[in-house]
Assembly symmetry: C2
Homo-oligomer: 209 residues x 2
């Protein structure tokens, strides 16, 4: 068929690290689009421009490749969540923070990747999201705000945690589901704005009982 004889293409020799990274990139894209069972050594190799034994050389086996993909993807997900916290968020910036989390989910199809990995049993479930630093940051800001206003009962950390969890879970599945929706049947920006308003109100006022 249209197969280019490899002997014509001069052999490229990368450092092991470069080669591993390039292979992981290709494999991660396939995992995101088709799930773990859709990751084929030959396809990965072709995408990178190497022969499939090269992939085995670097990762030992298909299993090893999938493990490496999962490990790297989950690590960057955690790091990404942390990167949002560089500056402590003001509660008025709820919308900004929310958009940042949403962008984090969408970027590179991370929500899809995360769901694929989780469904395949790779991630650490809810804990794997690494929410704690985010929760701590929000909760600290929240506590300061309530103290400044002289309100009595501070909201519990669990309340802040659940608020963060709710937001994350919703944005996660929204990011994964929205692509398939007929165009603009749901206005994602409007939903984001609405959710930010809801969160803003709840974070400031808490649950009345």
């Amino acid at each position: 068929m249209t197969r280019t004889p490899r002997s014509v293409v001069p052999r490229r020799r990368r450092t092991a690290e470069e080669a591993r990274a390039a292979i992981l990139d290709a494999a991660e894209a396939m995992l995101r689009d088709e799930g773990p069972a859709g990751v084929r050594l030959q396809d990965v190799a072709r995408a990178v421009g190497v022969a499939h034994p090269t992939v085995l050389h670097h990762f030992g086996s298909r299993e090893g490749l999938l493990d490496a993909v999962a490990e790297r993807a989950l690590a960057t997900l955690r790091l990404g969540a942390l990167s949002n916290l560089k500056s402590e968020p003001a509660l008025d910036d709820v919308r900004v923070l929310l958009e940042a989390v949403a962008a984090q989910m969408d970027g590179g199809g991370r929500a899809r990747t995360l769901l694929q990995l989780t469904l395949a049993g790779y991630g650490g479930g809810i804990e794997g999201l690494g929410l704690d630093p985010l929760v701590d940051s929000v909760h600290a800001t929240r506590g300061r705000l309530w103290a400044a206003r002289g309100r009595r009962k501070k909201p519990s950390r669990e309340d802040t945690y659940f608020t963060t969890l709710l937001t994350t879970l919703a944005l996660l599945s929204l990011s994964a589901l929205k692509e398939r929706s007929k165009k603009a049947a749901v206005s994602v920006p409007r939903f984001h704005a609405w959710l930010a308003a809801l969160l803003h109100q709840h974070l400031q006022q808490g649950l009345e009982r």
Copy 2:
């Protein structure tokens, strides 16, 4: 090998409908656990106790089988959402309704199945959830409540829709993610109770601006 020679087992002849249903059951379980690419004709056939050409006889091809699985699964998901609406929910029953939706997600791993199908590009995205009847029901009840209390601005239908969407999305991914979590690191019942309280408050009071 421990392979039982099939000739010893007397051949069972089901009606076409029964056979199709049994095959779909097995295939759906595999799709839920491993995704579409993990559905193998031979495995499906073995699970049902038939030879793999039988599966092809009933569904034409592997593609045909997957399409049928998707169609049936998505249909029951929609029907299931409707079944919660037999009696119009009182807003005080938010918790009950929420638990019903959550149970709907968990039962038979429907949340997992739905996510697998959506990630594979089968479902209709957000619209495929069939939320509209649920939203209409909740919104009608809500409007009656607000009228009875003599409040001026009724909340928009979009507000009710977003509220429902938020809940559904969160419960969906929670159901899929929670299995993997180290035991009881997140208390799902507590989260459900918290979310019900939040929803109750929002549905009754709306967003202040």
